[in-house]
């Protein structure tokens, strides 16, 4: 059958793609979606370990991670709307007053 490390390798690939997306994207919403991709790859790791070791804790943790992602979506999109209202742009390079 499919060994555990195939799932872990797929999770690592997805996480890396998410990190690359956060680094190279300049649109705030696109960066937000890449963060969601990273959360999902970690969820895949947790579910794989949970299933292969017959322990339900991993899947409960996935449940809680999903709740945190929902909270993050609400607050993050609120911040994005506030930035857009102030600057008429979602480019994160335009919101660089705090940058030294």
């Amino acid at each position: 059958m499919i060994p555990l490390k195939f799932y872990l390798a797929l999770s690592a690939i997805l996480f890396t793609i998410g990190v690359v997306g956060v680094i190279i994207k300049r649109n705030a919403i696109a960066m937000f979606m890449c963060v969601e991709l990273m959360l999902n790859s970690v969820n895949l790791t947790l579910v794989a370990f949970s299933s292969f070791f017959h322990d339900v804790s991993g899947q409960l943790f996935v449940f809680i991670v999903m709740t945190v992602a929902a909270a993050e979506a609400a607050v993050g999109l609120g911040i994005i709307i506030a930035i857009f209202r102030n600057r008429e742009s979602l480019d994160v390079d335009d919101a660089s007053i705090l940058k030294f």
Binding site: K5, F6, N40, S51, D55, F63, T67
Partner: protein
């Protein structure tokens, strides 16, 4: 036969997930990125099914592909986001360093993938044994969630409440500004409560502070009478 089907499903779904993730990063229009992300979520839900976790697969579709992505697409549509413009690379001298570090990371990952063996206790299980154990069934998840993990569950509800309040605070406009007539903390009372004889009197009391308005409307003396 079932083995080959499971292997085929894994590689199909893994390819769909990786392809959608690459499309998510490569697209310049955020709306196309959002659609690609929905593809990743659906592929991951299928992978959860191959891992015998039907509850998490259902929640993945409902919460992620349903609720969160609808919220994201709604915000994209609301803000009328323009396409990203490619800008020339700054800090070009860091490119060789990045290639080197990526090669090191890739070598480490490949070493672990090919040379580290799985533990004897849990690894290498067939999906049939996964199904027999019933780890991912909804009843088991509910039993775990409301017994040993009850405190994290309750903390999660507080987190959601905080997110609700935070989202409202961040995205609302400052609708009622403190003006000269309405002082923050002041109450707006009908005049006949202050003085029963002046029922029907709609004259506004202009004052700059709460104490001033109380003195003008005669509330000040009555408050001291009560003490």
């Amino acid at each position: 036969m079932s083995d080959y089907l499971t292997i085929f499903m894994f590689f199909l779904l893994a390819g769909l997930a990786i392809g959608s993730a690459l499309a998510l990063v490569a697209q310049r229009n955020p709306l196309y990125s959002a659609i690609s992300l929905v593809g990743v979520f659906i592929a991951l839900a299928g992978l959860y099914l191959t891992l015998a976790a039907p509850f998490i697969a259902a929640v993945q579709i409902i919460v992620y592909a349903g609720a969160i992505m609808v919220l994201v697409v709604f915000v994209i549509m609301l803000l009328n986001v323009e396409e990203e413009v490619r800008q020339p690379l700054r800090l070009r001298f860091l490119v060789p360093v990045a290639v080197l570090l990526a090669a090191v990371l890739f070598a480490e990952a490949a070493f672990i993938f090919f040379f580290v063996n799985e533990p004897a206790g849990g690894g290498g299980n067939a999906v049939t044994t996964l199904n027999q154990a019933g780890t991912g069934l909804t009843a088991n998840i509910g039993a775990g969630l409301f017994t040993i993990y009850l405190l994290p569950f309750e903390i999660t509800s507080i987190l959601l409440l905080m997110a609700l309040v935070g989202a409202i605070t961040l995205s609302r406009r400052a609708a009622v500004r403190p003006s000269e007539l309405v002082v923050p903390g002041a109450q707006v009372l009908p005049m006949h409560i202050v003085d029963p004889a002046r029922i029907g009197d709609a004259t506004p009391v202009e004052a700059h502070t709460t104490a001033e308005s109380a003195a003008l409307s005669g509330l000040f003396d009555r408050a001291h009478e009560r003490e």
